[in-house]
Symmetry: D2
Subunit: 383 residues, 4 copies
């Protein structure tokens, strides 16, 4: 069978993780059709070539346009900063390539709308587009979704979510594109807040009705990475917001890069009338489940080690008790993309979902700008 | 030395716990002056007499007025529902009795102001008044305060607080005075939210500038305890709010009686530029401390078992590793009150602090009524 | 009703904790008959009088003989070093007093046999004798026993137990009676090892068949508490042993005073064909239960917060989620003793159980003396 | 540069994990010389070819002899059952190939001695041999070793180790080669007990002096995998043993396949005069460190998230907080092997270490056969 050729755009942290996923997926899962790591695109020719050699890609290019247009490329995987997502994705979809795009989908709602429109058009031609909300593919969270879907939690009353990092705590940490509103769109809110917004909507199978928010930038200027001078920080360092889901469930969110001692902690809890779930990404092989239908005498949060063959994605890996790491969710993501391509089904989450999260982020920013006043998510479709 | 006579008003849950504290304090700590459990006041004569016998009080009365007025009573300890606090406390202070009053101090800001005024007047006559924010006396939290005071956390960036219970999850749980706005003032917000507001201000040594809030009542009516009919729930079931401290630190709060599987969990975390602290009341003998000034290679949240002689209040108890329970904080509270009486110093927290928390609660309600718009705490003193 | 008078012999650490239990039991539980703290006996008159005043005992004496003989004493509670247990207990039983005796019951098997004989004789006269294996009364462990009894664990395969302290880690820690074989009988083995031997036999409802052991004394001499000179350490600092239960279940035990950073940790785990239990005294309100009959997809150790009304002893205390401390188990212990006295039933554990544990300890020492060779517990009764 | 060709012998669980390591090592680490997955050897031609295709090996063979002899093979990686290790390893070394061999090294001490002899001879010709005690390469355990080496624990008093699995709990679990003494050498003792023996000696930098042991087989017969009939279980289901290190430190070990609810838990604790360490493989990115030189007021086990660039092996992976999984240790293992080959240094652990662990295992069996009597490890070299 003809293999599917992949073009990977970007080879920084995200590019490296995606590369490892493309590299591994065929060893771990039985693929409907083989894949090939065809081309790696970057901005600097030499560094891109080096990366291609190291990461095992067929060729390198400093022109993403070339990569996207290539005949032997069928899938374009976008791992660049947010401000280039729209242009690349739209071009790739127009060229008839399937697209996997890192989150947040775009830096503005308009950008995301353009992308979603392009995806809808491409869809009619059998082309699929996926947004990289990878944490859905952590087995413990996929199991969480399954338990909610199966009604094990009953009616949801509360969703609590924190995404905590601390890499900006030190005012001497240098400036980077992630701190520049033009490149990144938003700060902690867009980078990590978008993940917990998506997880909330995904896990509950519901949509946020509105939000009430506060944003803060604790450190306004930072030394430029190069050496001399200081750059303005034009994005939020931390975002705290509350919200309501369509069902009436209350939600709390915090996304911050100033959570001392927390390196990459996603802490979630869902309270329902029949049960509850708790999760912490720092212990990603565990899901804690409380079954409220049990006798009180033996009820308690049970720590499920999500490494059993019955658990989502686990057939690809090792025997019970042999834990997975952060990167495995990316392997699951490309496996799901390949399955969607093969079966011609909508990938989940698609660009519509990416757009929806972008709208929530816009509402968070609007609320913060209006002193926290509750802002409903504007989902008027403007096609 | 002439013992200090105590009148305890109320013998439900809080009365029982306070009773145990008065009962134990002299065994655990060397008191400046002995105390006597002089009189227990309740509403029903027979049940009060029974309780007095069981709990070991000298006599019983169904008239709190009588108890407050008695010559052999020097301290009045108020454990009644919130709507009677002001009247009893004002009468007791006027009669020259020291007062310990359960939180929230009152059901309205006006009530709390009246009480604080009465406390200020009494103070000039050497009479002291304390608000029962007991959790400050959990040794782990007293240690937390000490670490913040010693600068071990640096500048505070974040305060996170949840007070989670689940006893209202079942719509069949009967109505009670705690669900009646007239008697209780507020719901989860006043009952348990007041604790985490106080803890935030206490631990940080700072005051909230303002809040942005949402309140919800998930179940509007509940069966009356008696048997027939249903009563309106006129208070909040859950309160979620964000805030800013004077220092610029961000704060998140959640107080709910619908947190499935969480029975009485106070979960706190403080992030500072030099360190962080985390605490969970479900493991009340532990404080988790992260020292950000350490080398990364060995940095981590350390679980301090707060049972060493160096730790606050621990000299009164057992050797290291022999944990305390919920009730011990109440023993510490009356010990601190007795010390304040003896040394003629202001007890902490006094009624001013109780009033301040009441104002924060009022601001939370005002913000919720205004769709979450940020409301600054009104601290204009109206004497 | 005529109250039962109690004589407490000893007012060091254990005396203080027992005092608190006698002090509290009538407030927490509805007693069949009231109790009075009649007399406290110690060795030094002045210090005993001081302790009696502070701890609230009717009178003080420096003669335990006098206390035991007093007409107004019905219960003798022995909290002295091990070498005096036998003499006091035998005298008290002979005088027709009920006895509660701290563990280990005696310093030798012979001593324990004498005591058990005395208890059997007294039993026929309606007098009861109890051994202070208090940890059975920690609610989580009482619940553990109930789950085993109910068959929730199936056939037991493994019992694992560690009792870890670290107060001897520093070679400068002074000598004390606990390090003197004559006074204490054994070291870590007798003091804390006896607890986990008892817990193993109690929780499994089974008896050890034999043991294979190693004992060590890491620090041979220690400074005398007085000031000058050094004393020999004539007991073990640490004991590690394996064993087999009658059922064939394997057991591992470790008792040490050199477990760096562990202050008073009893760590237990039981593996059965239908379930498992885990417990750590450092989190004494929690029991972890794994139900092996569940579907793997949602199986996991559940953390039961043992504070519900359905849980053992909890009716005496606070609402769910309000944790108990170390000392509460002592209150439960005297409550159970009072119930046994009232109902005329055998208290559990009685002196026979204390004797049995003594025999296991003797077998541990015999095995260690024979290079770890398995030694069967000698239960030949020599009446 | 000419790549090093690898022959992998075996493609069951271990073969798959090793394959993933060979596959990934060049992407994660900068290798001194590239590697090629040259040939996969198995017993069944068709299944081996299938596995080679799926796992990405150049060719397949059903003759390990052929693989070992091939000119384009420089490294032989042995993942077969224990009874074939010696023959394959000796042949490979004789053919001038570097060898990585899974543990336990052999099924008998004699077998391991033969292998160690062959390795010594090969060593003089620049050929290296490594034993697959992979857990040394879990970053948290490599960090633990570093802390012990740096003296952060002082003199070691205790080592505690459990390796807990539960896959044999059900008597219906079918028979397999792992339960056959001829093929596997030993049961839980050899398979998982060997890991914790190695970890103890590695982490402490010390050797066991002797052991005192008990072995048990709970289920004597099991259904044959094929379908009809039952096979004898000729190995241990569980091994519990104590030991002494050269330094006098006490050690406890348990290896069992009947630890209900524990899937693959290695639980370790080391107590030293200056500090302590604790580890659980179920949370493999964490190391818990207690620094006994700190003030008691803030001392506690700190949970180090071992994902920082300063931590062993972490430069190859992701930013702080992005956890690794079980398989990563295998990538580290082959990286260390490749480094040893390149630098011409002895790989650690070599075959001598594998032999030493085999001797400990033999001593455990000897002690169990002699009713637990302490058996010293026989390290008389018989070359």
């Amino acid at each position: 069978m003809q293999p599917l050729g992949v073009a990977l755009i970007g080879h920084a942290f995200m590019g490296r993780v995606h590369s490892q996923a493309w590299h591994t997926v065929g060893r771990a899962f039985r693929l409907p059709r083989p894949v090939e790591r065809t081309v790696l695109a970057g901005t600097d020719s030499m560094r891109t070539q080096e990366a291609a050699d190291r990461l095992g890609w067929g060729r390198a290019t400093s022109s993403w346009q070339e990569a996207v247009a290539a005949d032997d490329v069928h899938i374009v995987d976008i791992c660049t900063p947010g401000d280039s997502h729209a242009e690349i994705a739209v071009a790739a979809l127009a060229a008839g390539k399937h697209v996997l795009c890192e989150k947040p989908l775009a830096t503005t709602v308009e950008g995301a709308e353009t992308m979603a429109r392009a995806a809808r058009r491409a869809r009619s031609r059998g082309i699929v587009a996926m947004t990289g909300f990878t944490y859905r593919r952590v087995p413990a969270l996929a199991l969480a979704r399954r338990l909610v879907e199966d009604g094990r939690l009953g009616d949801i009353r509360h969703f609590r979510a924190r995404y905590l990092q601390d890499w900006l705590l030190d005012p001497g940490t240098p400036h980077s594109w992630r701190l520049d509103r033009t490149r990144a769109g938003a700060g902690a809110l867009g980078d990590i807040g978008s993940h917990i917004v998506d997880l909330g909507q995904y896990l509950l199978g519901d949509r946020l009705d509105g939000v009430s928010a506060q944003l803060t930038t604790f450190v306004d200027q930072r030394p430029l990475a190069g050496g001399t001078g200081r750059g303005e920080v034009t994005v939020d360092d931390a975002a705290i917001f509350t919200g309501r889901f369509g069902s009436g469930a209350l939600a709390t969110f915090e996304a911050t890069r100033f959570a001392t001692g927390r390196k990459n902690a996603i802490q979630l809890e869902i309270s329902g009338t029949r049960g509850a779930l708790a999760f912490d990404l720092e212990a990603l092989n565990e899901l804690h489940f409380y079954d409220a239908t049990e006798r009180q005498a033996t009820a308690g949060f049970r720590r499920i080690l999500v490494t059993e063959p019955e658990h989502p994605y686990l057939t690809g890996w090792w025997p019970p008790g042999h834990g997975l790491g952060y990167e495995h969710a990316f392997t699951h993501q490309v496996y799901d993309l390949l399955t969607a391509i093969d079966t011609g089904t909508d990938p989940s989450p698609g660009f519509e979902t990416g757009l929806d999260v972008q709208r929530v982020i816009a509402a968070v920013e609007a609320s913060a700008a209006r002193a926290g006043t509750y802002v409903r998510i504007d989902r008027e479709v403007n096609r």
